[in-house]
C-alpha cells in the first residue's frame, strides 16, 4: 500500500463527509454559530443539517446548546476541544495531501 493511499485511509471519515466538513470548518473559524447561519452557509435543508449535527454531537466533536430568543427557539453549536483537535489534525493532513497531489 502506498503512503498516499495510507494517508487517505487514515483521514477521519466522520469529518471527511462534505456537509460535516463544512460544518466543522465553520465552527473551527468561530466560537459558536447558530442553526440559521449554519444552514445559510452550508445550503443544507433543516432536516439534513440537523442529522449531521446529531452525528457530530454523538462523536463528541460539537456541543449543541438550545435556548430561546424572544419567542423563537435558538440553537447554537460550538466545537468541543476534542472536535477542535480532530479538525485541526484532519485539515493539516488534507492540506498536505492536496499539496502533494497538486505538485
Amino acid at each position: 500500500m502506498s503512503q498516499g493511499y495510507k494517508d487517505i485511509v487514515s483521514l477521519d471519515r466522520l469529518i471527511h463527509q462534505p456537509a460535516r466538513l463544512a460544518i466543522m470548518a465553520i465552527l473551527y473559524s468561530c466560537d459558536s454559530a447558530d442553526f440559521v447561519y449554519l444552514q445559510n452557509a452550508t445550503g443544507l435543508t433543516k432536516g439534513n443539517l440537523s442529522s449531521h449535527l446529531s452525528k457530530l454531537e454523538e462523536a463528541g466533536y460539537i456541543k449543541i446548546s438550545k435556548g430561546f430568543k424572544g419567542k423563537f427557539p435558538h440553537t447554537t453549536c460550538s466545537l468541543t476541544e476534542k472536535g477542535r483537535r480532530a479538525f485541526a489534525d484532519y485539515w493539516a493532513r488534507w492540506r498536505d495531501l492536496a499539496e502533494r497531489v497538486e505538485g
Binding site: S29, C30, L38, Q39, A41, S50, F72
Partner: protein, 215 residues
C-alpha cells in the same frame, strides 16, 4: 482539489461575517471624525493650557466610549435586523489571533511614535506613517478575511497620509485633516457595504430560526 478552496472560503466567510454588513466601518469612521474634531480643537488651543492637556488625553476616553457604546449599538441593530435572517456567529479570539498580533504591533508602534512625534522634525511626517500603518494592517486584514474592500481602504489611508504630510500646515492641523479624510473614507466604505448587505438581506427570509427542527 477545488473543495479545499471552497472550505477555505467558508472559513474566511465565517471570520469576516462580523464585518460584512459595514456597520463596524461606519462606527470606526465616526470615531475618526470625532478624533479629527479633537485634533483640530487642540491645534486651535494654546499649548500649555489645561484644555490642551484635556484634548491630548481625550482620544483615550473616546476609544473606550466608542468601543463600549458603539459595539453595544451595533449588536442591538444586528440582533434586530441581521441575525434573525442570516444567523449569529460569535467571533473567535483564537481565529483572529494572527491578525490581532499584526494590529497590536502596528498600533503599539504608532502610539509610541505619537509620543516622540513633536520632538522629531515637528512631527510633520506622522500622518504619512499612520497612513502606512493603516495600509499595512488593512492589507493583512483583507487577505486574512478575504475582504477586498479593505485593500481600497488601505490605499486611501496611504494616500491621505501622504497628502496630509505634503500640506503646509502644523502637524496637529495635518493630523486633523488626515483623520477627517480617513473617517470620510471609512464612512463611505461602510455605507456602501451596508447598502449591498441590505440588498442581500432582502433575499433572505425573515425569522429563519422560527422552525428549527429538534437537533
Amino acid at each position: 482539489m477545488s473543495e479545499r478552496r471552497e472550505i477555505e472560503e467558508l472559513m474566511r466567510r465565517t471570520r469576516r461575517y462580523w464585518y460584512e454588513d459595514g456597520l463596524w466601518e461606519i462606527a470606526v469612521g465616526g470615531f475618526f471624525l470625532l478624533l479629527a474634531l479633537l485634533w483640530y480643537a487642540q491645534a486651535r488651543t494654546p499649548q500649555g493650557s489645561p484644555l490642551w492637556a484635556i484634548y491630548a488625553f481625550a482620544p483615550i476616553l473616546l476609544i473606550v466610549l466608542v468601543y463600549t457604546l458603539g459595539m453595544r449599538l451595533i449588536e442591538r441593530v444586528r440582533s434586530r435586523h441581521v441575525w434573525p435572517r442570516t444567523g449569529y456567529v460569535k467571533p473567535s479570539r483564537r481565529a483572529y489571533w494572527p491578525l490581532s498580533r499584526v494590529i497590536g504591533l502596528v498600533v503599539a508602534a504608532l502610539i509610541a511614535l505619537g509620543f516622540v512625534a513633536p520632538s522629531i522634525a515637528g512631527g510633520k511626517w506622522l500622518p504619512a506613517l499612520w497612513g502606512l500603518g493603516f495600509a499595512l494592517v488593512l492589507a493583512v486584514g483583507a487577505r486574512f478575511l478575504g475582504l477586498r474592500r479593505w485593500y481600497a481602504l488601505g490605499a486611501w489611508a496611504l494616500l491621505t497620509g501622504l497628502g496630509a504630510f505634503l500640506l503646509p500646515f502644523p502637524w496637529l492641523v495635518s493630523g486633523a485633516l488626515f483623520w477627517l479624510a480617513l473617517g470620510l473614507g471609512w464612512l463611505a466604505c461602510g455605507i456602501h457595504a451596508l447598502r449591498r448587505y441590505r440588498r442581500s438581506l432582502a433575499r433572505s427570509p425573515r425569522g429563519g430560526n422560527a422552525n428549527e427542527p429538534g437537533v
